[in-house]
Symmetry: C2
Subunit: 346 residues, 2 copies
């Protein structure tokens, strides 16, 4: 029993909750024999499921935070919602991690307010592992902090390097700064300031990464502000979606193409799946006291499974502990319990 | 003769200049019987070409600005470079437009310093026409202004709407603001300020456009700051490149796939070409006194041809005149001859 990893899961998170969440949790429990799930949600949803599954405990909650609610307000008022309860289980040490495919904004707010920021961390960052060509890339911030300062980006870089090393097994991860040119004289005032500070404080920093190189595998960690990061992440998804839509049209444009399409269908479907960011199971919020992973609202059961497993892997990699250790003695403001910024992405 | 449109072309712009430039110019001259080219470059390059082609005049220049030179310094010191001379021809009324596939930064600097900003325009914007799914989208700024204010984005929106209406023939173009959520409470401080000002001043403004919707054809014009725009544009190109690289691998992964690949090759090659932003022939710089289009450094002859023709089309659509008219009476600071910002993309 001592080796079990307990993950609190929001049964009501996502567009197709609770059905796909329950299916995903069942798959994760089968895949990971050391996983213990604390399933948070309405009693009639979580109790029957927990009774039918080993290593699953029902945590009945009387409230649900909807996707369109104001994140910080919802978290403050709905103390018995599945998101707030899940984060509370982590704070109380009953779970080591929390996963939800619900409102990103509400998860950010709950994790920051309820779990709390790690000491020394100025702003928790929402990261994502991108399926780059040769190797995965950790990209942050993708929406937790719309307005940033250079010192935040330095912290994102340090947290991202810890994540890549201890979750993805990348030794000596190279860090890049998302920018509009390779030269150190290029960029917005934020990028110019960040370049200088990264150079001074992050030994793994290797220079600027242009948008076109984000997926080229030149860096293991790429940092930017949460506005640019969110726009970029969604642009990658949108571009990929558009190209596959075009491919579908192109492959039915002639009889020859249709015949060929029948033969390449399998390879293209596999490719589409490989490129799906859901494969990595959601976006970790780094810099809070505990593991918190937020899945896509459109997650299917497979994505939920991957998200829950990703939370396990992050716990196993002791990411939160390592970040706490790295930042505890770092110069900076003491970590007070600040409310998350207004205007963060949902 | 009175109906000829004169475009100054930088013979030395681009990675494969002058050969591909000359080939592209020859193709453009054949395609457009009313095009007159003023070819700027070294005497031994431009004179023989002009002698061999109708409607082409050689404009010998003794200097060339290299891709890696500091843009503003190069423009100030190399008065007889092909880029500066081309812009001067427009200022003097000898050409109506200028095209170069050379250093973007130098073209921006030369156009701003030599042609000058249109009265009332605070910051010229570099735009690009993206090949979105159902309809093209004008996206700006993609790198002329790394740091922006809300009033600049309002001007980008107005200039973009004029461009789409009079160059691309889109009636009543809908304007969107690139942002990290659809709601008006989302975004960085720049996005929040821009949303409010766009709502007040731009009747065509229809709300926020998330990164994933940039290529979805929901808007005809999408505005953002030059940092986010540049990163986004290059991310689209990088994503597209990565997917086609993956497709190539996927289609050779098995014998069945290889057989199918032979049949779908043609359709996919056409698709790749359709999605190539070079199809639209480069990025127009809007807000200067005259037409200025900057092509990709990697332009092939086809892209050069399209760029020169795009300059013609912009002249025919009287875009500069319409922008001058729209802004002349607009409130704002008088248009002084400011140097372009340091840190702009090259």
């Amino acid at each position: 029993m001592t080796d079990l990893i307990s993950i609190a899961v929001d049964a009501m998170g996502g567009d197709d909750a609770p059905d796909v969440v329950l299916e995903g949790v069942a798959q994760a429990l089968s895949a990971r024999p050391f996983l213990n799930v604390l399933l948070c949600g309405p009693e009639d949803v979580v109790v029957p499921f927990a009774e039918a599954h080993d290593r699953c405990t029902a945590v009945p909650c009387s409230e649900v935070i909807a996707m369109d609610e104001h994140p910080a307000n919802a978290v403050r008022t709905k103390k018995d919602s599945s998101i707030v309860v899940g984060c509370r289980l982590v704070r109380e040490g009953k779970a080591q991690g929390f996963f939800s495919a619900g409102s990103t904004g509400a998860c950010l707010a709950a994790a920051t307010l309820v779990m709390g920021r790690a000491k020394g961390v100025k702003r928790p960052a929402l990261g994502v592992v991108l399926p780059a060509y040769d190797q995965p890339v950790f990209f942050a911030d993708v929406g937790a902090n719309a307005d940033c300062k250079p010192e935040y980006l330095v912290q994102f870089a340090k947290m991202g390097a810890i994540y890549m090393e201890h979750v993805m097994g990348v030794s000596n991860p190279q860090v890049g700064l998302l920018n509009i040119g390779e030269e150190d004289t290029k960029g917005s005032s934020l990028a110019l300031g960040s370049y200088e500070l990264l150079r001074q404080e992050v030994p793994e920093f290797k220079g600027n990464c242009e948008g076109g190189d984000l997926l080229a595998g030149k860096f293991s960690v790429v940092v930017t502000d949460g506005f640019t990061g969110n726009v970029c992440l969604k642009t990658i998804e949108g571009t990929s979606k558009m190209i596959f839509r075009h491919i579908k049209s192109a492959l039915t444009s002639s009889l020859t193409a249709k015949m060929g399409a029948a033969l390449v269908k399998g390879s293209l479907a596999k490719l589409k799946e490989d490129l799906n960011p859901d494969r990595f199971g959601g976006t970790p919020l780094l810099g809070v006291k505990g593991t918190c992973i937020v899945g896509h609202g459109s997650s299917n059961a497979e994505a939920i499974k991957n998200g829950v497993i990703a939370a396990c892997t992050q716990v196993e990699g002791k990411v939160s502990e390592r970040i706490a250790e790295a930042f505890a003695n770092a110069p900076g403001t003491p970590a007070s319990q600040a409310a998350p910024e207004e205007g963060s992405a949902s």
